[in-house]
């Protein structure tokens, strides 16, 4: 784990509005206000961070992977990507990315899909879909509300032939993405526990989530 990387003179460790340590394999959620900047830090490197966003005032408006990919005309997430909701509105904008490769096609691992992908003996392993269900349940939602997500720091190249596999993440310890909230959002994370594919280098590690108030204010 590396030390804090300052991306703006106004963004220091001492003036964070929120600073969370999220253990390996754990679920997490928090509210981010319009204008705030959230940093998701891959503290140890090579850790897939499965992420969903909901409009804080109306959870029926939520992250849409298909609208996000359509709107930017590309399959991967990076600096400049507008995170689009199912209502076609911009929820957040990716303002910084020290890694350069994030997926939103492969979805979250689940006990059920693990049985199909790896064999029935992998059913009883922690999985992101379970983390998401646990976390959204705290906010009055259910499995119906768990939609295809962003996998920050997960490397899923799609070939022109259509072929896709999950390969080793390229994120190093301390790599981060920063997003500016364009509306009040609920951020929901599953810090992926998958140990059957290389999305975490087969070794889930902790992450950190930091939030700053609008620096222009």
């Amino acid at each position: 784990m590396t030390s804090f990387i300052q991306t703006s003179p106004t963004r220091t460790l001492s003036n964070t509005a929120q600073d969370h340590y999220i253990a390996a394999e754990a679920p997490f959620s928090t509210f981010i206000k319009k204008g705030q900047v959230v940093r998701i830090e891959d503290s140890y490197g090579q850790q897939a961070v499965d992420t969903l966003f909901y409009n804080a005032h109306d959870f029926s408006e939520r992250y849409s992977s298909q609208d996000t990919m359509r709107e930017q005309g590309a399959a991967y997430i990076s600096t400049g990507t507008k995170v689009i909701s199912n209502e076609g509105r911009v929820m957040l904008t990716v303002t910084a990315d020290s890694c350069g490769r994030h997926d939103t096609s492969a979805g979250a691992c689940s006990c059920e899909s693990n049985t199909v992908r790896f064999g029935h003996y992998t059913k009883y392993l922690h999985a992101c879909r379970d983390n998401f269900v646990i976390e959204v349940s705290k906010h009055g939602m259910s499995k119906r509300d768990v939609v295809p997500n962003i996998n920050f720091f997960m490397n899923v190249p799609i070939e022109p032939s259509g072929e896709m596999t999950i390969v080793d993440g390229i994120s190093a310890p301390g790599d981060y993405v920063e997003l500016k909230a364009e509306m009040d959002v609920l951020l929901v994370i599953s810090n992926c526990p998958q140990i059957n594919n290389p999305c975490n280098g087969f070794d889930p590690t902790p992450i950190r989530v930091l939030v700053w108030d609008d620096e222009a204010a």
Binding site: S60, G88, G107
Partner: protein, 275 residues
């Protein structure tokens, strides 16, 4: 302090993944036997339970039972048809395209492939497919994508897939929260080396068809609206034919049920859930 997994554990898991990946990719030729021939094989009239002609811009939904087949065909020229599906018995189980592409190691769906639910079960087998050109990534149009694309043609007023699916979900007793990511049939989208989307119009033409065999009782929704990447500057979706064909028990050596280790395990999940 985080205690990392041992090098031995990591190496063992990596070896297992590489073996799965190798098998998944090696099996692929069997799961993709090539495109179905045109014209589509005729269906015995007695087997046709229902025939729908879905006008351009419109939606349609139906219930299907296990082993029935839906044939979606471009009999009247090119169009793109977006599809969503829910388990009829428990609609909280629905089509899941990320799982579908991830477990089959490809975003390219075609004859021989299957479509999974979020519960590790198979919803559809693609038993025939003459184009193999479908989009799992971008889904359908929305009011805002129409407004942008058809500016000057009263774009916002043109029918769109998102609103069509809201109508279907609501009429089926569901909610807009229940709308899953949509499969767009006859949408020749490819991804280039940088992740940019490309539209390959030569891959689809009039007379193309897809046969989807239901692997559980379902509610299935269709929207016949131009795909957001469709380069035609004019909003002009053609009608699309949809046949609902009576159930036929798959043979023991059915291609879709046996072509990959992943499909076999998915069907084992279906069989267990049906007990």
């Amino acid at each position: 302090m985080h205690i990392r997994r041992s090098d031995e554990e990591i190496a063992a898991n990596r070896a297992r993944y590489e073996e799965h990946q190798k098998k998944g990719l090696e099996f692929a030729p069997k799961a993709l036997p090539g495109k179905s021939a045109k014209p589509a094989p005729a269906i015995d009239a007695k087997k046709i339970m229902h025939q729908e002609k879905l006008p351009g811009g419109w939606y349609w939904w139906t219930r299907v039972k296990l082993n029935e087949t839906l044939r979606i065909a471009l009999d009247d020229g090119f169009s793109t048809v977006s599809v969503v599906a829910w388990n009829a018995e428990d609609p909280s189980e629905r089509m899941n395209l990320p799982d579908t592409v991830k477990v089959q190691w490809t975003t390219g769906l075609g004859k021989g492939r299957v479509i999974f639910s979020d519960m590790g079960k198979v919803m559809f087998s693609i038993t025939e497919d003459s184009s193999g050109a479908h989009d799992v990534l971008m889904g359908g149009s929305t009011a805002s994508s129409n407004a942008k694309k058809y500016a000057g043609q009263n774009g916002p007023a043109l029918r769109n897939t998102r609103d069509n699916f809201v109508l279907i979900a609501t009429k089926a007793g569901l909610d807009k929260r229940d709308i899953p990511a949509a499969l767009a049939l006859f949408a020749p989208v490819r991804v280039d080396a940088d992740g940019r989307f490309e539209w390959k119009p030569d891959l689809v033409s009039e007379g193309d068809y897809v046969d989807l065999r239901a692997e559980m009782d379902m509610i299935v929704g269709f929207s016949n609206c131009p795909h957001p990447l469709d380069p035609n500057p004019v909003y002009a979706p053609n009608p699309v034919s949809i046949l609902r064909i009576a159930a036929l028990e798959p043979a023991a050596d059915d291609l879709c049920q046996t072509a990959t280790a992943e499909a076999i395990r998915g069907f084992e999940n279906n069989a267990f859930a049906a007990l």
